[in-house]
Amino acid sequence: MKIVIEGNHALSYGAKAANVDVVSAYPITPQTQVVEKLSEMCASGELDAKFIKVESEHSAMAAVVGASAAGARAFTATSSQGLLLMHEILHWAVGARLPIVLGNINRAVGPPWSIWTDQNDSLSQRDTGLLQYYCESNQEVFDTVLLAFKVSETVMLPTMIVLDAFFLSHTSEIVEVFGPEEGAKFLPPFKPVDYLTPDNPMAFGNLTSPDSYYELRYKINKDTLRALDVAKEADEEFEKIYGRSYGIIEEYRTEGADTILVTSGTVTSTARAVVDAWRDKGRKLGLLKMRLFRPFPIEDVRRVLGNRKKVVVIDRNIGFSIGGIWAQEVKAALWNMRKQIPIFGFIAGIGGRDITPDVINEILDIADRLEYPEEEVYWIGVKDGQISYSRR
């Protein structure tokens, strides 16, 4: 069934299609509609799930950890400060190997307060071990909920689905949705091996000596790497059933390109138009859309970027002093290929500032002009003497 919904509701409908058992969340702008819709679904019986109201995001995450530990399929959603408050429990969910799915709406972190989008909230959770998907459209958001549960429950690790505040969360698009029966064709009921039950009370997560802790961490890494193949297979299976596919990365007009623009989230849609325009002018430009951040698809990135003349990365986030986080990851992925490919790192759109085609053209012009980047990180559009702001 095709309906017109905003990105936040695409998450809610996705959770319904995944037939989740437990939802626990605390409202925060710009995530609120995700939870509103799910609470309505739970209240009306449209979704047969328990909705647990809590007093903070820390508790929301703790509640889904408990639910998941007891063998339930559990979902939560948050944003920005809320995700940061969950941080401790995100580590717990990974270490306890709980296949929770979390929707995060990218919102800039305060202070100063901002409700607009950038990626520092989710990317700063890089080393918690959560798997991370970044989405470009509302359809992709809906479909990714099912894909995320599939991957999570296969490798027993939690997944975060990330979408831009307002550009996706509050923008309506046509989305093909379906209910739990249709969803079950792809996503069978969750059957955990060990789980909390009064009938057989086991202890979980207890004190573990250096004798075993090391191996348990090793296993998380191994399964995170395995998730690359699992995600690809899931994507293929999804396409067979529903006719839609996203891959773990997406190449757009990369054939014969000597410069590749690397993007994530909704900037990708704008970048597609810019790439089309440059191609129309005969320029050899292509686009790599990063969909999976964790596990980082090193082999795929090397395959797409390894033989190009230039790589241009747009980051809507900042690792202070070292540059955008996606750029750092790309550099790390390519380094051991021992090919010195110039990698241009651009910061743009932080705190929700628009990334227009003009901004991307300016980025591409700089990269085009230089053989090698003269600066480790370029901030695009920083006001320089032409400031006009109101004191009202």
């Binding site: 270490g95 306890a96 060990d194 202890a203 997560g205 191996e215 348990l216 296993k219």
Partner: protein, 557 residues
């Protein structure tokens, strides 16, 4: 303690995350505890607040399930007058209700009235006693105390005779309370049900005049519940003038359908329920009514609702005023001279004593002065058998007097009190009398702990507005003497019932079972037990019990 320790040779042998090798039940975590929760259902505060000890929470639960007959029979175990008390009681139960500060107490009297009326409509009869005894018992006075005592003795199988001075049973319920508050057909129906237990009734029989105290000697025991029959007088000159009348006398005339002339302007003296009844009755006769009360509204002994309704109907109350002179012309009342008062130091009742404001007088032209300044006992005829104190019979709360065969209760013991107090004392005396006759030892039931507001978790209460009772149209016109408060419909009662939270009473909600992090709570046949092998004393169960059915004690106590 488990001594299984597993050493892994290969990460592939290891589980995904740390998990115990065995079931953890060997680990008796209860030893960590320093406080101990225990399952401890309590008495609801409404029940504790009811002088008659009606099982309010119990009958509300039954009524929720539309088991109205069982509900009303449960009330009858403590009070044979639900239809009466549902209308006239001052409902202390509502003062105790946990919802009082939350969103308003549950409208308990409206529910009680509905159930009482249900019994009348369905013509429900009492179950006759299984046992019969030969010991005859006399009841002196057919008011609420006497009827209650007679009822509970008759239900136990004792032959009971009531001696009533007036023409009909009911006492203050019949002759004191006006029709618009308590319709006679309601009263008649409840009295009829009581008398149908086989009670012998001798009306127009004034003990001490029509029969002597010696005539009562043939009874195994007798109960005196004659109430307060004399009106207090103002002690002013000209109090015998035409137009000056005792409030009770006026009400009795009204209630007996005797003609009574009060004229256009009426002054009522007093601040109790009788004064309100007198004022509102006079209003219905078309008079302009002014009540004089010597203190302020806060000190008025009348039920708050009655004062409210009287003012709404158009009664004027002049506070801090008292009559000091009756001016007559040819033996007829003309004018009342009034003194303005002010509040001084608190007296022995704790209320501030009214003292005259020097030189402040005013006059009221009036056709009638109705004096409702209190009632006094008239018990001298019992002086030969029981001790009196200031005219009241000396008796304990179960009616035991200075004479082993004589028992007493109600206003003649307590002084001016309430209907429900009379009912409670009548029942208490019945229990004592029955026990004494059987030669047993009287051992009144000790009450369970009453749940406190701190015990209940009001986070679980949902806000729900209390039902409002519809009123009749007014104090003028053809229906002016008809009942004012019209009662709730069955649907409205059902909605109101849902507001009751059954405080202190376990309803098997499973919250303790759900919340216990140690799975240490078990449920069997609606009763919860705690497995102290595993209870760590976190007290989450106590906190999350909505109704306060779990208590805490120190460990090792």
């Amino acid at each position: 303690m488990s001594d299984q320790k597993k050493t892994f040779r290969d990460e592939k042998e290891m589980p995904l995350s740390a998990v115990s090798a065995t079931d953890m039940r060997w680990n008796k975590t209860g030893s960590w505890r320093n406080v101990k929760p225990y399952y401890d259902p309590k008495t609801s505060p409404c029940i504790a607040g009811c002088p008659a000890g009606e099982n309010i929470q119990g009958y509300i639960e039954l009524a929720k399930g539309e088991r109205y007959e069982e509900a009303v029979r449960l009330i009858w175990q403590n009070n044979p007058f639900p239809a009466v008390c549902g209308r006239v009681c001052y409902h202390p139960c509502m003062d105790n209700c946990m919802r009082k500060e939350f969103d308003g107490s549950v409208f308990i009297p409206a529910i009680e009235r509905f159930l009482g009326d249900y019994a009348i409509e369905q013509k429900l009869k009492e179950e006759l006693p299984k046992e019969r005894f030969d010991d005859k018992i006399a009841i002196v006075g057919g008011g609420p105390a006497g009827l209650s005592c007679a009822y509970f003795l008759a239900k136990r199988g004792y032959p009971v005779t009531i001696f009533e001075a007036k023409g009909n049973l009911g006492g203050v319920l019949r002759y004191g309370i006006p029709e618009y508050r308590l319709p006679k057909d309601v009263l008649d129906a409840e009295i009829e049900r009581i008398v149908d237990l086989g009670i012998d009734v001798k009306t127009n029989t004034f003990v001490g005049k029509d029969i002597t105290m010696e005539d009562l000697a043939e009874y195994s025991a007798y109960f005196i519940g004659v109430g307060l029959q004399r009106s207090r007088r103002l002690g002013l000159e000209n109090e015998e003038a035409n137009g000056v009348m005792a409030g009770l006398e006026f009400l009795e005339a009204m209630n007996s359908g005797k003609p009574v002339e009060i004229g256009k302007r009426v002054v009522v003296v007093g601040g109790g329920n009788t004064a309100m009844d007198v004022a509102r009755s006079a209003l219905r006769m078309g008079a302009e009514v002014t009540v004089l009360y010597r203190r302020t509204r806060a000190e008025m002994p009348a039920i708050e609702d009655e004062v409210e309704e009287a003012i709404e109907e158009g009664v004027t109350i002049r506070f801090l005023a008292t009559p000091v002179g009756i001016i007559t012309s040819n033996g007829n009342l003309k004018e009342i001279k009034c003194q303005e008062m002010q509040l001084g130091e608190p007296d022995e009742s704790g209320r501030r004593r009214p003292i005259p404001k020097e030189g402040a007088y005013f006059a009221l032209k009036t056709d009638s002065l109705l004096v409702a300044a209190g009632e006094m006992p008239d018990a001298e005829c019992f002086q030969s058998v029981v001790s009196l104190n200031y005219g009241l019979i000396v008796a304990d709360e179960y009616g035991r007097t200075s004479h082993e065969k004589v028992f007493a209760g109600g206003d003649i013991v307590s002084g001016a009190a309430t209907v429900v107090n009379a009912v409670a004392r009548g029942r208490g005396a019945a229990e004592l009398i029955a026990t004494e006759i059987q030669g047993g030892i009287f051992n009144p039931k000790t009450e369970k702990k009453v749940v406190a507001i701190a015990d209940v978790n009001t986070a679980y209460f949902l806000h729900k507005r209390r039902a409002t009772m519809p009123r009749s149209e007014g104090t003028h016109g053809n229906n002016r003497f008809a009942e004012v408060n019209l009662g709730l419909t069955c649907e409205e009662v059902q909605e109101e019932l849902k507001r009751c939270y059954s405080c202190g009473v376990c309803d098997g909600c499973d919250n303790c079972w759900v919340f216990c992090p140690d799975v240490a709570i078990q449920r069997e046949e609606g009763v919860y037990t705690i497995d102290y092998d595993f209870c760590k004393g976190c007290l989450i169960c106590v906190q999350e019990c909505p109704r306060g059915c779990l208590s805490v004690e120190s460990e090792g106590k």
